[in-house]
């Protein structure tokens, strides 16, 4: 119960930061919506841990709900890192195009 409360407090803090960043226009609307849904779903998962335990047990997993959440989180993290790397590569290619354009213009 204490751990759930702590996790929810952390999520509320992140949500508050998210709204603050939106207000300061530091974050695009698409990014805002993505993270809003992400944190709301996370909060929902934390609140319904007991229900999640039942589902996981019915599916035949020996791990508890929180462990499954952890495994899923790590998978999502890897995927996000992968997407970041792709984005970085694209940015590098665009920078190359710009630098080349400047060099050839001179």
């Amino acid at each position: 119960m204490f751990q759930q409360t702590l996790a929810l407090i952390v999520i509320v803090f992140f949500l508050a930061r998210l709204f603050w960043q939106k207000q300061k226009k530091q974050i695009a609307i698409a990014e805002f919506i993505f993270w809003l849904f992400f944190w709301l779903i996370s909060a929902g998962a934390i609140i319904s841990l007991k229900w999640l335990d039942k589902i996981v047990a019915n599916l035949g997993f020996s791990a508890s709900g929180i462990n499954i959440l952890l495994y899923l989180s790590v998978t999502v993290l890897f995927y996000l890192i992968f997407r970041l790397r792709l984005k970085l590569s694209k940015i590098e290619r665009d920078i190359t195009k710009l630098v080349r354009h400047i060099a050839l213009k001179k």
Partner: protein, 222 residues
Amino acid sequence: MKIICIIPAYNEAENIVAVINSVKPLVDEVIVIDDCSNDDTFLLAKQQGIIALKHIINLGQGAALKTGTKYAIRENADIIIHFDADGQFLASDIKTVIEPLINNQADIVFGSRFINKQDNIAMPVMKRCVLMPLARLINKLFFNINLTDPQSGFRAMTKLAAKKIDWQQDRMAHCSEILCQVVKHNLRIKEVPIKIIYNNFGQRFSGGVKILVDLFLAKLIS
């Protein structure tokens, strides 16, 4: 036939003048691309009366070669040569490298350090006996490329070949990517023997690993 030599350079103030002066008599035009050097490479190159281009940030040899190649295509080059700025290649090998292009025997020619055994005895044993065979095997397995020296930076191509080969890799993975593009476009390849003067020993094993990672990521993006 207009022959243009592209020399990508990064911090080669020590060698660039000698390299330019050795190449200049053998080609119609020399283009040096300074990849944002911290020394006087760009200034020295400009003083030799050749075309000198400059990247405002360091991008890598692959990017510099592409900038130079694009410029050469714009200048209506018939033959485009890629030549290193560190003085390891011999200008006298230019004639050997471009001959198959002039005789219409190939669309792209690669200089190889391994056709004549005596040309590579100065290469460190680890590189000659382990790293280079490994590079050849990886190029054969993953890219279906069967060259004796797949990482050679001394190459020449026709303008048509240069227009078809569109490499995206900025750093050292461009060598493998150029080869992939050559195979993809069914260009006629020829390898000729060249000599190398070893004053440093090029890429390390970690560089090879980085090349593989870069090529893998590029494949995922495309």
